[in-house]
Symmetry: C2
Subunit: 310 residues, 2 copies
């Protein structure tokens, strides 16, 4: 069975690791959000791609879920001394990724090619690709004005009230070869427990991506990042509330109407199963909180066993 996983953020990366432990390299393709990419000091940073890569490579910081374990910050400190903004905390090891990526992009390589090369160097067996090789940037429109995603997310710690999300460049972007081909040829599509507005919506904003998912021939499964009315991490709950949506797995599911056959919710939300069904999806109730690697593998197995009609 060929599986395509769409991911962004730490929750997405965790499930990808579980999937990668269960599926061979030929049977899993991971496509990642790039709406939160940003340039710092002229270096191209792809936080979601990096989180997936570092997680699959076993390098990620277990405390944060992003960044690299045992990271140091000597370069960042020196950049500060040279008058640079340092609110985006790039570590020394992480910096190497951005340096190599930036050099290759300047040499004319696509982000897909760069990502493949980085994965090869990090001994990551499963293919990882960006959603697009074109420039898409999430702008968060807030009560304090519009701002680039990382400014909202890291510098402002998600404090501004969000009124709208814009995915600049998405309309003229093309799906990456990996996304396009996987949507054509996979048997199962998994929308990881990522932020629907920040990680998945940028992908849907790329022309033809939404339609290709809607007409996807195989099983389509999404996993709620909201458990018991709370986000496991990040601003998903706050965003649902600010954008007028239910702060629950049902609110998430509503974002995926037409895009999803099976919707995975946590045991704690089992009582909301009828609401999921009312949206035209089959609820799959299981433990979705991934603390250990065993949790990730178990969730991956439950998802892979799913069929449209239980």
């Amino acid at each position: 069975m060929k599986v395509l996983a769409l991911a962004g953020g730490v929750g997405g990366a965790k499930l990808c690791l579980g999937l990668a432990r269960v599926l061979g390299a030929d049977d899993l393709r991971i496509v990642v959000n790039t709406g939160d990419d940003e340039e710092f000091y002229g270096l191209h940073v792809s936080p979601d791609l990096d989180t997936v890569m570092y997680t699959l490579a076993g390098m990620s910081n277990p405390d944060t879920g992003w960044g690299i374990a045992g990271e140091s910050f000597a370069t960042l400190h020196s950049l500060g001394r040279l008058g640079m903004d340092t609110w985006f905390g790039l570590g020394d090891q992480d910096m190497a990724t951005h340096i190599v990526r930036s050099q290759m992009l300047r040499q004319g390589k696509t982000l897909s090619e760069v990502t493949s090369r980085l994965c090869l160097s990090l001994d990551i067996a499963h293919p990882v690709a960006p959603m697009t090789d074109d420039r898409v940037r999430t702008t968060v429109v807030t009560d304090r004005g519009p701002m680039p995603f990382q400014t909202y997310f890291v510098k402002m710690r998600c404090e501004p009230v969000v009124t709208e999300l814009r995915f600049e460049g998405a309309q003229s972007a093309a799906m990456s070869p990996a996304l396009r081909q996987s949507l054509d040829s996979s048997d199962m599509l998994i929308v990881c427990p990522s932020n629907p507005y920040l990680s998945i919506a940028p992908m849907l904003a790329v022309p033809r991506a939404r339609a290709a998912i809607e007409s996807f021939a195989g099983v389509k499964i999404a996993v709620s990042p909201i458990v018991g009315g709370q986000a496991l991490r990040g601003p998903a709950a706050k965003l649902l509330s600010e954008l007028g949506e239910d702060v629950s797995c049902v609110g998430v599911a509503r974002q995926y109407v037409g895009l999803c056959d099976v919707f995975v919710i946590d045991q704690i939300d089992a009582h909301l199963s009828p609401d999921i069904r009312a949206l035209g999806m089959r609820p799959l109730v299981t433990n979705t909180v991934m603390e250990t690697e065993a949790d990730k593998i178990e969730l991956a197995r439950r998802i892979l066993d799913a069929t449209i009609d239980a």
Copy 2:
């Protein structure tokens, strides 16, 4: 008295520190070789400028004379993991300099502007500038073929036998504003104890620089980097030998005929004073070995006290 110092390498930086301790910021301008600049990972590295800056800022590694004290190498190690060459040992703190420089150059700033900005951030009072804002690269022609300077110097540890030096781009380069203006307006020109072939010759290869030095109105003083027939550091002695020159301060002085009124040699070479005089220069005999800061200041004072006719 307005002083222009031409420098490259560790010996040059040491004398610059001595001069900076004696002269006010308005009275000293330091112009530095850029022939050994190189791009690594798409980052513009200016080793001679950095050595001068780090020395003046009190940041330099006291053991090596180049690089930054207490440096770590986490980014370099990660670059190696990503398949990059790492024979040029860029440290984490140093990396910040190259990141900022590269970003500013890509934004259209000149290397002179970038250098001024870096000096400002590092609280360096005395103006430091590159010899040119244009691209000049030293190619070392050897028995193993021509190679970029840093390949010869760092990767090959100066082992190949040198037959010729080429300064690619020099013929179409222009003197930096600082070099041009200082040659017009200074009272004293000091050629620091730098490698004549690798640090000073690139400057002389820039059109009109040699003529401007020859016709310089003030006192012109050069300091030998060769003491007792040996280079205090680096390949100066090996180069003199391979290029058919005397391996002595006299061999160095011969490179500066017409460019220098006073030639500073070490006490140990006092017996060579007649040979210096025979080249049309007045020998100034003093201690030129700069181990302590007091040594650097003392040598600076001896030089600044010099006049053409003793």
